[in-house]
């Protein structure tokens, strides 16, 4: 068997894509719906912003079909800040992805938060020069997305709830599965790959290295600095915060606090200080009480 790992065989652009994800580590990527919010996020210390028309909590509340944002909005946000700008396309909607690449966004999130455009297939992300991030609930889903070309993975959580329970469950699941396959004898890995629905080569790489071949971030339900630090202690390398900031009473202060909590996630004394007097967090809804038809995390194949 070849000693060369899957990720060592990828084209040169791969290193550049994963490289940008590496640069975002230890940071907070914030959802913003206009240039003004983007500036607040940058001022608070966000490493990147996600440009979208509605935050997940509003998509949830208003219903309807959620699509890629208007390019006008994305351009306004690109003009407003110097940090990377990300944007979302629908699962499988490779034309939305082509448009986002043409706009020069720095990362595309093929996201379950938008209404899926394809109920069987995701975008083939190796065809693009721009890097992609995709959500996952378990290791198999993560490795399928990476094989398709995702340069960053985020555990999904349940977006727009302000409830951290699903984010925790998905991160624990991925980390547990990584630990499990690390200890399997090599002859069991093919069956493990089959059962997870994951490419064998990538299963081999994870078993040998004990981590995903791309950075693993956390998303979906982070509302407080403590939530962010919890996800970091559980193994996240950075966090996405969607509704949690701009659905709270004092977005600027909360945004800044979450940035600091991700840096000092292992320092409870600092976290106590950081968590003090932030104003009301987003109200939120219990993710476990949602019927399956309203769960976003189940989208993805």
């Amino acid at each position: 068997m070849s000693d060369i790992l899957w990720s060592e065989k990828q084209k040169a652009t791969w290193r550049n894509k994963v490289g940008l994800a590496e640069m975002l580590k230890g940071g907070v990527i914030m959802d913003v719906v206009n240039a003004e919010q983007a500036k607040i996020a940058e001022e608070a210390g966000a490493v990147a912003v996600m440009a979208l028309e509605r935050v997940p909590a509003d998509i949830r509340a208003q219903g309807g079909v959620a699509r890629m944002s208007d390019p006008k909005l994305i351009r306004e946000i690109q003009d407003a800040v110097s940090i990377p700008v990300m944007a979302k396309c629908r699962i499988g909607h490779f034309v939305e992805a082509q448009i986002l690449e043409a706009l020069g966004v720095d990362f595309i999130d093929e996201s379950e938060v938008l209404t899926p455009a394809d109920d069987r297939y995701h975008v083939y992300k190796h065809d693009f020069k721009v890097p992609f991030v995709c959500g996952c609930r378990n290791l198999g889903e993560a490795l399928r997305r990476i094989a398709e070309g995702a340069a960053m993975i985020r555990t999904k959580g349940e977006a727009g709830t302000g409830d951290i329970v699903e984010a925790v469950r998905h991160m624990r699941t991925v980390m547990d599965e990584i630990r499990r396959i690390q200890h399997l004898p090599i002859e069991e890995l093919m069956t493990a790959a089959k059962e997870m629905g994951a490419p064998f080569e990538l299963v081999l790489e994870v078993a040998r290295k004990g981590k995903l071949p791309v950075p693993n971030f956390s998303a979906g339900g982070i509302a407080t600095p403590a939530d962010a630090a919890l996800m970091m202690q559980l193994g996240a390398e950075a966090v996405f915060v969607g509704s949690g900031i701009f659905k709270s009473k004092n977005p600027a202060r909360r945004a800044r606090a979450i940035v600091e909590a991700v840096t000092y996630y292992n320092d409870p004394v600092k976290l106590a200080e950081i968590s003090t007097d932030l104003g009301e967090p987003m109200l939120g809804i219990s993710a476990r009480a949602l019927p399956e038809t309203e769960q976003l995390a189940v989208r993805g194949w």
Partner: protein
């Protein structure tokens, strides 16, 4: 043995620690100003320069780092690290350590789709090129007298040195080539 710190507020600090590890040098993650007294030199990683700058200010590390640099201790900044070391950042008032006599322009090659790799020749460290990984990289537009340009890509300096300060606009920590890190370690007093 010299004790090397890697600023670990945000960014790809882990990759630098891995490089140092390959060279047999243990590194410490630096998040507190008090740690600066315990190290002989510092790497400032790639990441988001505005984020790292703000955290440096909020946690009172900016002035101690300026003192650290002026005291002659070696510092190496990659990409965002180079921006934070630069005295001048075109069109920006963002927080910085500001000790290296260069002027940089952020994101000068463009957005992520303009990120690239190229062979970089650095005679000081050997004949074979280094694979330069440029990610939303800055360009060094001007260097003052006393700043040595160790390498250029096209017309622009990409690796510069001024006394104890070293800066690159690319990311050797994302490759397997440890020569630039070894060169940085050679700046430490014996």
């Amino acid at each position: 043995m010299a004790k090397v710190g890697v600023l670990a507020l945000q960014g790809d600090f882990e990759k630098h620690i891995q490089m140092l590890d390959r060279l047999g040098v243990p590194a410490v993650e630096v998040r507190e100003k008090s740690q600066l007294d315990e190290i002989d030199g510092l790497i400032i990683p790639g990441g988001e320069s505005t984020t790292i700058g703000k955290l440096l200010v909020r946690y009172g590390m900016l002035e101690p780092l300026q003192t650290f640099a002026r005291g002659g201790k070696p510092i190496y900044g990659t990409c965002a690290g180079a921006i934070l070391l630069a005295k001048e950042i075109e069109g920006s008032h963002q927080d910085r350590i500001g000790v290296l006599d260069i002027t940089v322009r952020r994101n000068a090659y463009g957005r992520q789709i303009e990120s690239f790799e190229a062979d970089i020749f650095i005679p000081r460290i050997g004949e074979l090129p280094v694979r330069g990984v440029f990610i939303r990289a800055p360009v060094i537009k001007h260097v003052a007298d006393g700043v040595e340009v160790l390498s250029r890509f096209g017309d622009d300096p990409v690796l510069v040195k001024q006394g104890n300060l070293l800066a690159s606009t690319f990311h050797p920590e994302l490759t397997n080539d440890t020569r630039i890190h070894a060169f940085f370690l050679s700046l430490f007093p014996v």
